[in-house]
């Protein structure tokens, strides 16, 4: 699924800039608010779905070679965290939907889960 399709499906606001989301494709989702849970099942190139917005969420994505993060429940990371994601080439977006709905929708579109 391309990131622009994910943006539309989840009604996301894009937080990082200068991204052509149609060029980035993901097929696997890691969904958790626990960062060690994400690191326990690293899947390079995956999409991370989380409600944790501190800078360690982006660091976790960076260490696990994750391409993009969707922040849920209307949570938005601060400017410093978004800037760090931009610097590391990680696409960041936010949706008002909760974890259950986000995962359910992504599943409907054929995305696979890891954890």
């Amino acid at each position: 699924m391309r990131l622009d399709e994910i943006k539309n499906a989840l009604q996301c606001e894009i937080l990082t800039k200068n991204n052509d989301l149609s060029l980035v494709e993901v097929d696997t989702v890691l969904a958790s608010d626990g960062m060690s849970e994400i690191l326990a099942s690293p899947h390079p190139g995956a999409l991370m779905v989380t409600g944790l917005t501190n800078i360690q969420s982006v660091m976790t994505a960076n260490f696990a070679d994750i391409k993009a993060i969707v922040y849920i429940r209307g949570k938005v990371p601060n400017e410093n965290t978004v800037s760090f994601a931009q610097q590391k080439g990680i696409h960041v977006m936010a949706t008002k939907l909760g974890m259950f709905d986000v995962c359910g929708l992504l599943r409907q579109y054929g995305m696979k889960g890891v954890i």
Partner: protein, 147 residues
């Protein structure tokens, strides 16, 4: 005997969440600059990051020695902290002494030490309750080489 090629020491401060993970971020950049295999880099930085977060969450301070030899990537973390009373128990997935405040930061779910073990080719943890913990982890540059 492995030949040491690079060494850098980082100081990590307990409770400093605003800077937690900075050492591991720098370690990733160093390893990327050396064009080391992506899987080895990923395993190494997961070890470094989990160890760094353990110090931030539980200890007062620590030194993280990051060493690259011609055979492996090594991390030695010596902390001043409460120590671990039962290391075997601490290695079990899901076991945690973290409180809700730490969990709200995204950590403390009992996966840190298991993640370190899973991503290390060699791991040694020595602890003195009330004084601190020494964690030594090695990741081989050539996973097929004999240990």
């Amino acid at each position: 005997m492995a030949e040491e090629l690079f060494r850098k020491a980082f100081t990590i401060y307990g409770g400093n969440f605003s800077r937690a993970g900075e050492s591991s971020t720098e370690i990733k950049e160093i390893l990327k600059g050396l064009h080391i295999d992506n899987t080895i880099i990923r395993r190494s930085v997961i070890v470094a990051f989990e160890a760094e977060m353990n110090v931030v969450m539980y200890a007062s301070t620590a030194t993280l020695n990051f060493i690259i030899t011609d055979e492996d990537i090594c991390f030695e973390i010596l902390d001043q902290g409460p120590g671990i009373a039962d290391i075997e128990q601490a290695m079990q997935e899901g076991f945690s002494t973290a409180d809700d405040e730490l969990r709200a930061m995204g950590f403390g779910f009992g996966m840190g030490l298991p993640n370190i073990k899973k991503n290390s080719d060699h791991l040694l943890i020595e602890s003195d309750v009330g004084k601190g913990t020494k964690l030594s982890a090695r990741i081989r540059l050539n996973p097929d080489a004999s240990p």
